[in-house]
Subunit: 739 residues, 2 copies
């Protein structure tokens, strides 16, 4: 039975990868549209690859250095080399998932546009399939990597033994903990990539966006997405870098982290007779998270087949149906797995020394809580950020009195929006703990993340549709095409909001699971908040999300500045661009009024803008700017752990997790709400009975809010997810040294 | 010896009150200026008293209700009635301090203006004496009230006994804890007033400010502080309500809370032979905070005599000298007190069961750390918010590209500014714990707050000078008068920034001390962060500062709206105002160009604006709007404590304190930095080599930032100080029920 599971887990990862390849091939063979569309698409794809190439170059050095450090310093009790191997594999798997996702997303965008020329259903199909490639790639590579390492290292460090009593059980447990400790390297590798993708990507996307807008739209007066603007492609690349690769790496990290953390906690069960007498060698709790993740893969694959819509139908319903079916299959499968794998009943001593009895149904409830909490937090996020909701209408109303009141009300909405998600999260924590102990919290996180395959597919579908709309605009396609992509895009905004909430909630739960694993590995049974070292750690930890957010916001400012300089330079130094800009300034934007000479000038300028240089600027700036926040995230836990001890480090993690989750929710939701308040004006928003449109004073106020919200929701907010998890993973990796 | 101290403590409180009366009489007998100045002054004073009257009416009901609840439900082991008595006394002392401070501040403002007609030195003298009345009133009433209650209740519950062995020591300790538990009611009373003064006052001041600006300046086009604007007086009243009464009540709460908390911790020493053999009945640790506070009073009184400046001199240096001398006297006196009162050496068992030896010099070091940390946090605050500093210049630079970049950089400065204060705070916590154990943290807080007398004098001097400048403007006094008050005001801005940082730092340390006292009273030796109930408490607690801030920011918006409606109504319904406004619109603001008929219209309008109604509107709105945040602060700890247990409540306090301190620093400093960035433009700010003035586009962007910062720095930020302390006090009060 154990060896079947050991083989089935990586096999299910491979299954996901097979379906990923099928979907990917399906997307590739779609019609990429006319020559202009293909050229735009190629520019974006080239830019995205240029970013990845530059990023991965730096990453390779980073990974190599850390791997050497790990190999040289890792816990001598285990094989030092192995944690480094796991680390490298984790980094490779996450990077590969990012590459695959970006690759297909930049193919799917033009093909979605082209499909939208025929029908809404076909367009949804292409966009969603593109997203599904990312989703399946993440879970496939995640589970395959984890399963493979577990299979290999278990064979090496913890071969099957017959457990008959407490002594043999304890020996098996020690061996198993060695295995899992080594595998934490995989999680650390994934976190490192996530740092680059989420923080670097977040800086990239906003630097390009702000730079393109400020010089292009404001200074030179050319419209958004215009090919004359050298930063246009960087801006479009940014959407993919941030929303596809960034989100993918974030969830990859949560997915892997929650599974490994739960495996560590599950190893505690190995010495209970109720477990080691079940024929699984006591590994029930260690294997369950892997099995639940495997079931989630099957559920996600099946779910993707139900995402279909007819012309005139509602894409939201199609996506909901797919998710709902996946959730139902996941729950059914999990019920079967839990009742098969886990003993019917067992007792453990709680912290007060009393015997506490748990049942396998309790474990199932915990999974259910996790799943429901993830969806719940997502929908709450939608309430606070969605077009037309009460909070967003409030921001619209406050725009009437100017930018300042728009900003104040957006900040207030963001802050207020922390309440319900936290209550849901706390209910899930307490509920799953009540029914299944500490293990319950871990398996709840796994339950939340098991369906990442389809969840991420729905997420990544958003930016693909968004890009498709932009391409339709740039390529001058008929109005009904844009209408179809707009319909997809509107749904994409909702799914993006839900996805962001889900990412934060899962990051919080994953950080808690890793925290519990850290305590277990560091041999701590208790971290007393009233111990002043712990209190100081708590304060320092709570401060870090503020410092980290400040760094990343300021980074966007500096990086955008680099971009501005470069665009200005090109406008000055490239004669064809200069000439075309002058024609535009003189004659305005109505191409039909241009003379033959003007058109010739435009034709001469076509393709002369050096997009690559802008992509390079944004890439370099983003990588340079993420060094400081990255170092903070990695060095602080090491410094506090070795300088102040494991307990102070525990305090640090508690502080960074609690304050970090709040700051992430606050910033993401404030940004999302400002964005949609602005969109409401663009569609004509009603304030006190009057309708205000694009260009009105309240709209201008809303634009200020949206600009403030951009780094909030796309850079500093999401980066905090990584901060919490990365610090927890680093702590877990150094935990054996702190015993 | 014990009885000498018992009598000396309230006597020192009375000494402070005597000096307060002398200073107050000194201010009153100053020349109040010409008739116009007196009329303006009277309007402000009447408005301030109207606010206090309305506030105290509601407060009286609140205090009565809570007192009855306390009397009925208080710990039956002690005399139930007594905690209610202490509560009422605490509320009365704090309210009285607020009344005295507001009363003298609204007298000192016009007298400072009048003194500025003669000399800078005289003006500084009046303004500072006004502040000193507030400062001495707070420490005098605080220490008198505490000392009196301690004297009375000690007589009742813990009369002097001869302690010879561990058994008699334990009995004496139990009796003493009963005394201190009852006295916590005093702290709770002080906190309740602080809630009303700081939260209600914060809403009041910004509602009046925003309301006056939006209708007066923007809609009607009349200048700031113009008597035609019905909200002008409310706006001026608001400065006193927020910066004088609010700050006073905040520090009163910290002062009292830190002393009581340290007394609770100090009671733990009563069973050590090293203590009960010193002739103080083991009360050394209980008495020391009272004695240190008493020394601080003497130091503060002496310090005030050194605040003098000659014409052309630097008021900042004068204030610094006063504070420096007070600090030196405090340290010398404390050194004597510590070495006299505390045993030379003693040992206690630490949490690992090892004997830890402490010395009286260690206690002295802890006091020193507290004092230095308080000043340090203040000066760091000045760095992040002061005119011309690097962070504020950064905001000025970012204003060039508009409001959005101004806002982003202000938010980043605020977030970044959390780092150093927290590092200083953590160093103080760890340092004082290292040298003097948990008691060290308590006595460090007392050391930080002992000189509140002069600290608050320096603080309250700021708004008095600010008001004096406004009165000089309104009364049309010669230019050199305004120049002198501007000089005082500029220094006042610096002291205000330092004062805000000090208030946050002391609130944090006070909350920690109260937290330790809570644990001791609730019989908790340990609060394990990894206990999921505690974790959930931590998350809920960290969420509250965000929710609380959102409530108070939204409250300002709603309250300002009420004010806007009222001002609009008056402009429409009062014919004389309407006529004068029309003249102003037609003829502009240059009074010299008005015709005789115009002047007659103005004369007819003079005094017709219903200032009282506006004061009432702002008062009512502020009291209505503080109900919700107030309830959150009081009910949450009760609900969590009884619903989830003492440990979960501990997690809640840890969360609210850690996240609350960050949010307070972030919001206060962002607001302060935006404010001074705007001021830099008003004086002509250099951005990339160009000088920009008032009215320029970058200045307009900076005005948006300043408006966003207003509720940040004057409402939601400072209110968080109260949230942390109030929740800790409520927890301490209910702690005996949670054992």
């Amino acid at each position: 039975m154990v060896s079947t599971i050991l083989l089935a887990v990586p096999a299910l990862g491979i299954l996901a990868l097979i379906f990923m390849f099928i979907k990917s091939a399906g997307v590739s063979k779609q019609d990429p549209g006319n020559e202009l569309m293909q050229r735009i698409g190629k520019n974006i794809a080239d830019g995205a690859m240029a970013f990845l190439k530059a990023e991965y170059k730096v990453l390779a050095i980073f990974v190599a250095v850390v791997a050497v450090i790990l190999a040289l310093t890792a816990d001598p009790a285990t094989s030092s080399m192995m944690i480094a191997v796991a680390f490298v594999l984790g980094a490779i798997c996450s990077a590969l998932a990012g590459f695959i996702g970006m690759n297909v997303a930049t193919k799917a965008n033009i093909r979605t546009t082209q499909a939208a020329r025929t029908s809404l259903g076909k367009a949804l199909g292409v966009a969603f399939d593109g997203g599904a490639v990312m989703g399946l790639g993440v879970v496939g590579l995640g589970l395959f990597g984890l399963g493979l390492l577990f299979f290999l290292f278990k064979g090496q460090f913890a071969p099957d033994v017959t457990i008959t009593d407490a002594t043999t059980a304890a020996a098996a447990q020690a061996a198993m903990l060695k295995v899992i400790t080594v595998i934490t390297g995989f999680s650390f590798g994934a976190s490192s990539i996530a740092l680059f993708a989420r923080v670097g990507g977040g800086i990239y996307t906003k630097a390009a966006d702000v730079g393109a807008d400020l010089v292009g739209k404001v200074e030179a007066g050319i419209p958004e997405d215009h090919p004359l603007n050298p930063a246009t492609i960087a801006d479009n690349v940014g959407d993919n870098v941030g929303d596809v690769a960034g989100m993918g790496a974030d969830l990859f990290e949560s997915y892997v982290g929650s599974i490994i953390g739960t495996m560590v906690i599950g190893a505690a069960y190995m010495t209970l007779p109720a477990f080691y007498n079940t024929g699984l060698g006591g590994l029930n709790g260690v294997l369950l998270p892997l099995v639940v993740a495997g079931i989630g893969i099957i559920a996600s694959i099946i779910g993707t087949f139900f995402v279909r819509v007819k012309e005139g139908g509602d894409p939201q319903k199609a996506l909901n149906l797919g998710e709902l079916i996946a959730a139902a299959i996941m729950l059914a499968g999990t019920f079967f797995a839990v009742t098969t794998l886990m003993p019917a009943e067992w007792s453990v001593e709680n912290s007060n020394g009393l015997l506490q009895t748990y049942t396998n149904m309790g474990i199932f409830y915990a999974i259910l809580f996790g799943l429901v909490a993830g969806l719940g937090i997502g929908y709450i996020t939608e309430y606070y950020t969605g077009t037309g909701t009460k909070p967003v209408q409030g921001i619209v109303d406050q725009s009437l009195t100017g930018a300042a009141t728009n900003i104040i009300s957006g900040l207030a909405v963001g802050m207020r929006s922390t309440a319900y998600p936290i209550i849901v999260l706390c209910a899930a924590i307490i509920g799953s703990y009540y029914f299944a102990g500490l293990y319950g919290i871990g398996i709840a996180a796994v339950g939340m993340l098991a369906n990442t395959g389809i969840q991420l597919a729905v997420d990544a579908y958003g930016p693909i549709s968004d890009n498709a709309g932009g391409i339709a605009e740039m390529a001058g396609l008929p109005k009904e095409v844009r209408e179809r992509t707009d319909k997809l895009d509107a749904v994409g905004n909702t799914t993006a909001a839900i996805g962001k909430g889900f990412a934060i909630g899962s990051a919080a739960l994953t950080a808690l699971v890793l925290f519990a694993a850290f305590m277990q590995t560091a041999g701590l049974t208790n971290i007393d908040i009233a111990n002043p070292y712990v209190t100081a750690g708590l304060f320092l930890g709570a401060m870090l999300p503020f410092l980290f957010s400040a760094f990343s916001m300021e980074a966007v400012g500096r990086a955008a500045n680099d971009m501005i300089q470069e665009v200005r330079r090109q406008f000055l130094e490239i004669p064809e661009l200069k000439a075309a800009l002058e024609v535009m300034k003189r004659a305005g934007h109505d191409t039909s009024k241009y003379s033959a000479a003007d058109l010739a000038t435009f034709n001469a300028a076509d393709g002369k803008a050096d997009y690559e240089k802008c992509v390079e600027i944004s890439t370099k700036a983003s990588i340079r700017e993420m060094v400081m926040p990255g170092l903070i995230a990695v060095i602080t836990p090491v410094a506090v752990g070795f300088g102040g001890g494991a307990e102070m480090l525990g305090g640090l993690l508690a502080g960074v997790t609690s304050a970090g989750v709040m700051m992430a929710i606050f910033q993401s939701n404030a940004g999302g709400a400002w964005d949609n308040a602005k969109k409401m004006f663009e569609e004509g928003a009603s304030v006190q009975g009057t309708i205000f449109h694009k260009g009105s004073e309240p709209h201008k106020a809303a634009v200020v809010g949206d600009t403030v919200g951009d780094p909030f929701k796309d850079t500093s907010g999401p980066s905090l997810n990584i901060l919490l998890k990365l610090m927890a993973v680093v702590s877990l990796v150094i935990a054996p040294f702190l015993v």
